[in-house]
């Protein structure tokens, strides 16, 4: 079975992770621009981060047979540094039109401040202009209100719900998100967000239509195999293969292919010239080949 992890922060993961992901069947990933765990102090730091998302990280993933895409945006936390935020918003046109950018994101709320709201609105307008999907980060605190408020603002800007993935849902938010016509994504992440088994229950209750599973694996304690493990858990508990494929692969394609930049053919029929050049030009492997014999972990997050 093929899997996509449509929300993972590869920049903070190791090559070991890429090897295990490829081995577990993950063929493509989307890396949303987010914060680095500490606030950036200059716009140049954002510039270099965005550059690596469209450049080196894409190359590095390719070295391990994984197609890498990204989303570009100013995240909610750092929107609160208003002077910096203005510079970053001005920089976005340099990056949003790149070939592997499949959405504006992840944007939305953290503290629900006016500065966060302004950055959200500016970026929704950019998404509209470029006809790009939007990836919404929903806040950890005051999640329900933050999620609903995000959707209200999206609707005020006339961005249609089918162009928007609302991420980090839980049992409390997902009904409203699905009822209002959005893609509802769920992050399998230890302690916070969603667990594997809870996810199985959600798919049992709400079905597979417009439901997307991701890992958000990043610099924290997180699991780059969360999607494949949840898929296996669902299969083991009687959820039909078709529904597993929708939630762990196909819905992500339907949602992000609206950018025109996220086509199954990219990884099923990789461009031969580019691929061979990527492998020859490798600066990650330093002459080695990816080791596909690394054993796969089978622990699950509860």
């Amino acid at each position: 079975m093929r899997y996509i992890d449509p929300h993972i922060h590869c920049s903070s993961r190791s090559t070991d992770d890429y090897e295990r992901m490829a081995e577990a069947g993950i063929v493509a990933v989307i890396e949303p621009a987010f914060w680095l765990g500490q606030p950036r102090t200059t716009a140049g730091a954002f510039h270099d981060y965005f550059s690596s998302l469209v450049g080196f990280e894409r190359f590095r993933a390719g070295q391990f047979g994984i197609k890498h895409y990204c989303t570009i945006g100013l995240n909610a936390k750092e929107a609160n540094n208003e002077r910096l935020a203005e510079e970053v918003l001005d920089m976005l046109p340099l990056f949003l039109a790149k070939d592997n950018v499949v959405a504006v994101g992840e944007i939305g709320f953290d503290d629900m401040t006016p500065a966060e709201e302004r950055a959200l609105r500016v970026q929704l307008d950019l998404a509209k202009e470029l006809e790009l999907p939007v990836m919404i980060h929903t806040p950890h605190r005051n999640k329900k209100r933050g999620t609903y408020r995000s959707m209200d603002i999206i609707e005020e800007h006339g961005v249609p719900p089918h162009m928007v993935v609302i991420d980090h849902n839980n049992e409390e938010t997902c009904k409203e998100v699905l009822d209002r016509g959005y893609w509802a994504a769920f992050t399998i992440y230890p302690k916070t967000k969603m667990g594997n088994q809870r996810m199985v229950e959600i798919v049992k209750q709400y079905g597979s239509d417009r439901v997307i599973i991701d890992s958000s694996a990043d610099w924290g304690i997180s699991d780059p195999l969360a999607v494949t493990k949840t898929g296996n858990l669902m299969l083991g508990q009687g959820i039909a293969e078709e529904d597993v494929q929708l939630t762990c692969y196909k819905n992500a394609i339907s949602a992000y292919n609206q950018s025109g930049q996220f086509n199954e053919t990219d990884w099923l029929n990789p461009e031969p010239v580019d691929e061979s050049k990527l492998f020859e030009g490798n600066s990650v492997l330093r002459g080695q080949r990816p080791d596909s014999s690394t054993p796969q972990e089978d622990g699950i997050i509860t």
Partner: protein, 299 residues
């Protein structure tokens, strides 16, 4: 008149690119591109940045597939220009670059800097391969030299291969580093424009040291290296060459023989005489550096 040439001004790279795109993309793509070009010409920076990114999506990513005649014309318009490996999106990107107002070098250079600094991999290739047709080339030398610090082979090749820019604008030190690095990362030398014209004693000296060090470590020596060494082969080089000529692979022997033939010293002639068959083949033109390069990288 059927074949009347209505445009009497001489062809330019921009005109050629626009003409190639006419057959390579559809009306919708062409309309989009012409609209962008007009905006970029009027100084609209956001139109340039978004347009540069969007171009392949709007006009296509397929190879340009230029005919021999078209490639000959390209060389006539800009000596050494070789867009044989270009694709349609890259041609459109180059046209957008050529539309940036450039009378005032300051703002022109700033736009290019922004595009280079934000470039993803394919954009970097397009930017570096556009170097020979861009105005104010002297402003772009540092950028080209810096670009070679990449470890991504196809970006290195965009600068070093089929690109007349390095031969024309690189200092001897920068040129020599390019050649030396190519050998280290497994990039061919033969597609470097001016490879034989820019041989120099300092480069040969570095390569002779490198070859000697590789031989001492019992590691293979890239066969193309000898092309740069031949004209300057000293005692150390001749000693290494003699040994490889005696016991090396067929391809190594061919390369050494060809280098010896280029050296034109009595010592070199004498060594070459130990392989009369190779000497004869070289005389007939049956062994060439292009052929050796192809054989070395064929797999």
């Amino acid at each position: 008149m059927l074949f009347e040439n209505r445009d009497s001004t001489p062809p330019t790279p921009a005109k050629l690119l626009r003409g190639w795109l006419e057959t390579a993309t559809d009306d919708e793509g062409l309309t989009w591109l012409d609209d962008r070009i007009a905006k970029v010409e009027s100084g609209d920076a956001a139109a340039l940045y978004l347009g540069f990114g969007l171009a392949p999506r709007k006009v296509g990513k397929q190879p340009l597939e230029l005919s021999t005649l078209q490639l000959d014309l390209a060389k006539e318009v800009r000596s050494g220009w070789d867009p044989s490996t270009w694709n349609v999106g890259q041609a459109a990107r180059t046209l957008l670059l050529l539309s940036i107002p450039s009378e005032d070098p300051g703002p022109y250079f700033e736009h290019l800097e922004k595009l280079f600094n934000a470039a993803e991999l394919q954009e970097s290739v397009a930017l570096f391969q556009a170097l020979p047709v861009l105005p104010h080339p002297e402003l772009l030398v540092d950028r080209a030299v810096d670009g070679l610090r990449t470890n991504v082979l196809f970006i290195f090749s965009a600068i070093a291969h089929r690109n007349p820019f390095p031969e024309e604008y690189f200092s001897e030190a920068a040129w020599n580093q390019m050649v030396l690095k190519a050998l280290f990362i497994g990039a061919e030398l033969d597609p470097m424009v001016g490879i034989d014209r820019r041989v120099n004693p300092a480069l040969a000296e570095m390569l002779i040291d490198y070859a000697h060090e590789r031989r001492a470590a019992k590691r293979p020596i890239p066969v193309e290296l000898w092309r740069m060494v031949g004209p300057f082969a000293d005692e150390t080089a001749l000693e290494d060459m003699t040994a490889i000529l005696a016991e090396g692979t067929e391809l190594e022997q061919q390369a050494i023989a060809l280098a010896l033939a280029a050296s034109a010293t009595d010592d070199a002639d004498e060594i070459l005489r130990s392989k009369p068959q190779l000497a004869a083949q070289i005389e007939q033109g049956a062994i060439t550096w292009s052929g050796i390069c192809d054989a070395a990288y064929a797999n």
